[in-house]
Assembly symmetry: C2
Homo-oligomer: 337 residues x 2
DNA sequence: GAGCGCTCTTACAACGTTGTAAAAACGAAG
DNA sequence: CTTCGTTTTTACAACGTTGTAAGAGCGCTC
């Protein structure tokens, strides 16, 4: 900075009042003579004063900042290539900016990183944590809870604990996919699931399989994928090799579905005529296929915003019981099924 | 927090010394009796003390935080769907964590948001800014410079100004694409450019066109795209309608290239036999096509890390002349050309 | 016109840290 | 046994806010 930033003191001197009065004007507390208020505002204008957040934080013990933590065992820094995290970020940022709160991005992929996150929050460098946790065995939710850090999760924790979270009814999502495929006359249906150590994957899978059973199909060929394009393409290959008679497949996310559609094409299967494909998420890859992907929409941005809302709420009134918000999926029918 | 966090005072009391001594132990300043040092460390252990970053910031005027600003006129919150920003984020986060610095994510898509960013930094809420600016007319670099905020840019500023930045030789990248297409015998070459109000797009385009001219092709059919899958698919359509004889196309990013390949397929053109395709970036879509996309690699993660390095360096020793680091592109030959 | 209750303003003490100047401890030298 | 450096430790003042308790101003009532 060229010149030291103007302080309350400076404004007070210019306006001819005390620091406290200026402070009250800035914070909009009542009991300030309107005339004086104008004088102070002028002085603020004149000096170009802007309150120092750090000093303010020291006394209010609020930073106006929350940690956005991407957690999970395998999450290297390449998580950001997954469109899912981009959508979460977008939803969070969009919501927080309305409340003048800023997110600090943190990765918790190692034990060291995890303790760093806990320290960061214990120190009060952020008011709370938004935790996007992929693996169900992630220890971070418990760690943060132990440290009494206000926290909100995306997706329910691996084992029950008193913490706020948003989630979606993934089971219902799987069911919708099954219902749609059966309703459109498919009878040889397989699935490519997500990694089964992720709760959401389990739920999508069981929701799908349960519904198929209810429709009279007790057995559904399944291959476990890894939520990547590659793994989707590969899983489809395996599925097709073993069950060439397949006429439909439910793929547990859109990226894998894109890969699966590619495999189908190169095997000479036309989508949706020969094989119907239903994806999951309704993220950008769903629109980057032809035919456009029929998929189960997960409103990630809205869910992320709700998670941020939950956290801010619990910061507003501490000591509340944790809350959960569960979103409903929605089937988006496009060309692929 | 259940109990108030332990403070320097508490540690001092337990260790039977003064606050200042504890502070010196914590910060590793010399001139502390080794024996006493051990006592203090024990006391720290015992109390579970961890320094309060906010209080520290107030006096040191350093926060250990930088703003990661995604700027540019059109950048809504959907920027995060573009894999590019994910890669930048990954590179920045990866580098900063080594230096115990944390990024605060900010969007600067409106005038209001821009002044908020400037305020945030003027207030000293962050030590500096990493600015990813897409549009060349973006006013933010100048605003930050005026406010004497330490800053490093991804991509050179729209008009020359004394600021550090990283960039790539996009012109050379365009040339590489041209050279490769000509070397592999293509003679009817077109291009889908990026938005031409982005400097990088201009450079890729002019680099490509210049090189083609040098190879004896004075005219290159071109359509301007918008860096999205859709716009790539659409541009390819237009190009093909007007120039059905095309046997190669250079597409200014991989996402558009993916769309373009799709259009080519549905027009019955086989890649690379009938039409060769070269993309740009070497981002995830390049591996989510078949054939795999031949593309010009932009080392986004390394560039982002370098940008962060530039900023930290300028924070370390202020008053240095601004620096720039220019990366070289690299042609990655795969199946599509 | 003294006393009382308003409203509005001001001084002052936090918040938890760092840095500096002064004080204490301790040898070594005279 | 004093005196002088040197090293180690301490007390104290910042840093820029906010909140609280005390104070000033002022119009009312009795």
């Amino acid at each position: 900075m060229t010149k030291a930033a103007p302080t309350l003191e400076d404004v007070a001197r210019v306006a001819g009042v005390s620091r406290a009065t200026v402070s009250r004007v800035v914070n909009g507390t009542r009991n300030v003579d309107p005339e004086l208020q104008a004088t102070v505002r002028n002085a603020i204008e004149e000096t170009g004063y802007t309150p120092n957040r750090v000093a303010r934080s020291l006394v209010t013990r609020r930073t106006g900042t929350v940690a956005l933590v991407i957690s999970g065992a395998g999450s290297g820094s390449d998580v950001f290539t997954d469109p899912f995290f981009g959508r979460v970020t977008a939803g969070v940022v969009d919501f927080l900016r309305l409340h003048a709160v800023h997110p600090v991005l943190m990765l918790a992929d190692t034990d060291a990183a995890r303790t760093e996150v806990v320290e960061f929050l214990r120190q009060g460098s952020a008011d709370g944590a938004l935790l996007v946790t992929t693996h169900s065995a992630d220890p971070l939710p418990a760690l943060l809870l132990d440290a009494s850090v206000p926290v909100a999760l995306y997706a329910r924790p691996g084992r029950p604990m008193p913490v706020s979270y948003v989630d979606m009814d993934h089971h219902a999502g799987g069911r919708m996919a099954a219902d749609h495929l059966v309703a459109t006359g498919r009878t040889n249906v397989g699935t490519v699931s997500g990694p089964l150590d992720v709760l959401a994957s389990q739920d999508r899978y069981s929701g799908f399989v349960d519904a198929m059973a209810r429709h009279g199909f007790p057995y559904v060929p399944a291959i476990e994928g890894g939520f990547t394009w590659e793994s989707g393409a590969r899983a489809m290959q395996l599925l097709l090799d073993e069950h060439p008679e397949l006429d439909a497949v439910f793929v547990a996310n859109d990226l894998m579905a894109q890969g699966a559609m590619h495999t189908l094409n190169s095997y000479g299967r036309s989508v949706p005529v020969d094989v119907a494909v239903v994806g999951f998420d309704d993220s950008s890859p769903a629109l980057a296929c032809r035919p456009l992907l029929t998929t189960v929409r997960q409103p990630v941005e809205r869910m992320a915003a709700a998670m941020a809302g939950l956290l801010l709420e619990s910061l507003e009134k501490p000591g509340q019981r944790p809350k959960s918000v569960i979103f409903e999926p929605e089937l988006v029918v496009r060309g692929s099924a």
